[in-house]
């Protein structure tokens, strides 16, 4: 069995990680489709899908809950797709852990909360993991595939809950109320005065009202931190579970390959299983097939240009291969799949299936076989 195929068949959670602009969303969708067509019940969580991909999956404008994708034309299967709505997920989390309705209301109305939940770096990552927890524990799918926001460092993503909880943690409150407590062991008068200077400077920078809001915000979270903490621990357990694998998506751009290599090392150090790597948008092999000279009567000048075009594609394919080899040299035990750059947008399920075919060869054929059998079994 193709090794990516075995991931799709056996794992329960697949996390697609990678830098910006590598095509993570499309690859995640293709993986999800591949698994669904192979008979697994799949949930796909995407971050920011292109309109055409959304249309291809038949997703409504704001699909923050799973929407079933119609796969009838491809032979059937069960795929549910949704988009991450970080703000909404965060709101639900607050409502879940707030000690009372009023406490929840107070947080949700806080200006700083609105900033933190929507715009602060890390909140999207945090909420993607929260959604992961929600779906994984509900246990209504065989496989959950998660597309992730682009990061420079893989651990930025995995650490998001911890960083966020630190931010929301109660220690900030004690700092604001009694600044000297925050710097343990610095109890002298000089330190006190210095801290007051800093605080005054910061107040001038931020405006008094903002400091008061910080206190209000942090105070509001005080009773909820434990709930958040245990949730984050649960997420950590899921991430390191034997049913979970990370999948690194990259392109063959030299800079991106370097980034992917450091991603891989970080994940490996952090004890997360990297199940596969996908090099996206390589030159399609079919273009480079060494066939006999074609029978077409190509005009001379055009023939020269075409040879040049072909040479450039060959050079590009050569680079692709060298970059994949560079990855392989670092992660020799990890299967690497290359996905050719289809010279069109992925605007339909059929186009997505073409990519899925890379991961689970024979999908198209099987799809037809299933359809014929289905027809034969139908007494009507």
């Amino acid at each position: 069995m193709h090794r990516i195929e075995s991931l799709l068949q056996q794992r329960k959670v697949l996390l697609c990680l990678g830098g910006g602009g590598v095509g993570k969303t499309t690859v995640s969708a293709a993986l999800a489709l591949a698994a669904a067509l192979r008979g697994r019940k799949v949930a796909l969580l995407t971050i920011d899908p292109a309109r055409r991909l959304k249309d291809a999956l038949g997703m409504p404008e704001l699909a923050s809950e799973p929407t079933r994708v119609c796969l009838d034309g491809l032979g059937g299967g069960e795929l549910h797709a949704m988009m991450l709505d970080a703000k909404r997920t965060f709101d639900q989390l607050v409502a879940r852990f707030a000690p009372s309705l009023e406490a929840a209301e107070r947080i949700l109305r806080n200006r700083l909360y609105q900033y933190v939940s929507g715009a602060l770096a890390g909140s999207q990552e945090y909420m993607a993991l929260e959604k992961l927890y929600e779906i994984a524990t509900a246990d209504s799918y065989d496989l959950l595939i998660i597309d992730t926001p682009p990061t420079h460092h893989a651990l930025d993503f995995l650490d998001a809950p911890r960083r966020m909880i630190d931010l929301l943690g109660s220690r900030a409150l004690s700092f604001l109320q009694r600044p000297s407590l925050a710097l343990l062991g610095v109890g002298s008068r000089v330190a006190q005065m210095a801290l007051e200077t800093i605080l005054r400077a910061l107040e001038r920078l931020t405006g008094m009202r903002l400091l008061a809001e910080v206190a209000d915000f942090v105070g509001g979270f005080d009773g909820m931190v434990e709930g958040f903490q245990s949730r984050a621990d649960a997420v950590r357990r899921i991430l390191r579970d034997a049913g979970t694998a990370a999948l690194l998506v990259t392109t063959a751009e030299p800079l991106t390959i370097d980034e992917t290599i450091s991603f891989y090392r970080e994940l490996d150090r952090a004890g997360l299983f990297v199940g596969a790597m996908v090099v996206n948008r390589t030159v399609p092999e079919a273009l480079l097939a060494r066939t006999r000279r074609g029978a077409n009567p190509i005009p001379r000048e055009l023939r020269r240009k075409l040879r040049e075009a072909r040479r450039e594609l060959e050079a590009l394919a050569d680079r692709d291969r060298r970059m994949a080899a560079k990855l392989r040299a670092v992660a020799y035990a990890v299967p690497i799949a290359t996905v050719p750059a289809f010279p069109r947008d992925v605007a339909s399920l059929e186009a997505l299936r073409d990519i899925a075919e890379v991961f689970t060869p024979g999908l198209a054929r099987r799809g037809r076989v299933v359809a014929i059998r289905g027809a034969a079994a139908d007494p009507a």
């Binding site: 910006g20 602009g21 943690g169 220690r171 900030a172 610095v186 931020t206 074609g294 029978a295 060298r322």
Partner: protein, 316 residues
């Protein structure tokens, strides 16, 4: 008088979606200005910056260092900008370091939006406004900032105005006012947005340009479409290649059709940029490259020299 949207400005913020080639574009703009006899300072904001691999010179630090005469590189880390600020208000080193290392302090700065961004911006403006010698000529003709990806750049550029509105008086307010005055001067400062001619990147570019125009904190300068697929064939040749009578298994025809299709899609996206933003993007040709090297940069600088939109515009 004609106004060159790059050479006649003093401060450029280069930004765009992740993975579109901001760093390469920044280096190209810097070398382009350098070729036009400008004294150039390149600013990188990431501790993981790779500008040095492109421009050469020593490992960049907190003070500008010469890569070659008239071309300097500096790395401003937002975290360091805060340390610099603390140095001014808290002269005792041991305490300062303790504070910076303190967990609670990092929480406080993370929770108080914009402090580090603002201090970084203030530092950039300070460098831009530096003068030399008795005749008080500017130390740099052009400061080019390799800014973070758009999601993080917008808040960076908006902080000064926000702070100014919050504190119209006082020393910080004064700096904020100066920073936003410099940024808002369209003949002095602009944002250069880099994109690739693909759907998602173009979407984000349209969004960021619109939001910059709405916010009014900085002018939208030249737009760069990076890795733009070259046109190889004439209209007649394209028609011939796409005609139905051909044997598609012919490798030359397949290569030709692939090129035609790639080019067509890139042009489609370029047309969207033109229509939505009413500017003519500068295109950087797609180049097969293994590493970021000088010959590659020279080709891009050449593309910038010949860019019609730069010669023709007077956008300020």
């Amino acid at each position: 008088m004609s106004f060159h949207p790059i050479l006649d400005r003093r401060l450029l913020f280069v930004s765009g979606k992740g993975g579109v080639g901001k760093t390469v574009a920044t280096a190209t703009l810097a070398l382009f200005a350098f070729r036009h006899r400008k004294r150039v300072l390149v600013v990188e904001l990431s501790p993981y910056g790779r500008m040095r691999e492109l421009l050469g010179g020593p490992e960049p630090g907190a003070e500008p260092a010469e890569v070659q005469p008239r071309l300097e590189l500096v790395r401003i880390e937002p975290r360091r900008a805060l340390a610099d600020f603390l140095q001014k208000v808290l002269p005792i080193r041991a305490l300062r370091e303790r504070l910076l290392a303190s967990h609670s302090f990092s929480i406080l700065t993370a929770a108080a939006p914009g402090i580090e961004e603002f201090l970084t911006l203030a530092k950039i403006i300070e460098l831009e406004s530096m003068h030399l010698g008795l005749r008080r000529r500017p130390r740099y003709d052009l400061v080019i900032v390799d800014a973070p990806a758009t999601g993080h750049s917008l808040p960076l550029l908006a902080t000064a105005r926000t702070l100014m509105e919050m504190m119209p008086i006082g020393p910080i307010g004064k700096i904020a006012a100066e920073v936003s005055r410099v940024l808002a001067d369209a003949r002095r400062a602009a944002a250069v947005i880099v994109t690739i001619a693909e759907e998602m990147a173009v979407n984000e570019t349209i969004e960021i340009a619109a939001s910059l125009k709405r916010g009014g904190s900085v002018a939208v300068g030249p737009l760069i479409a990076n890795a733009f697929w070259p046109a190889r064939f004439t209209g007649d040749e394209v028609r011939w290649l796409l005609s139905s009578g051909l044997d598609a298994s012919d490798p030359l025809v397949a290569a030709g059709r692939y090129h035609v299709e790639k080019r067509r899609r890139a042009e489609e996206q370029l047309a969207r940029l033109r229509a939505e933003l009413r500017v003519e993007p500068v295109t950087f040709p797609f180049v097969v490259n293994e590493t970021l090297d000088r010959p590659h940069l020279r080709r891009l600088v050449g593309a910038l020299e010949q860019a019609v939109p730069l010669a023709a515009t007077s956008d300020a």
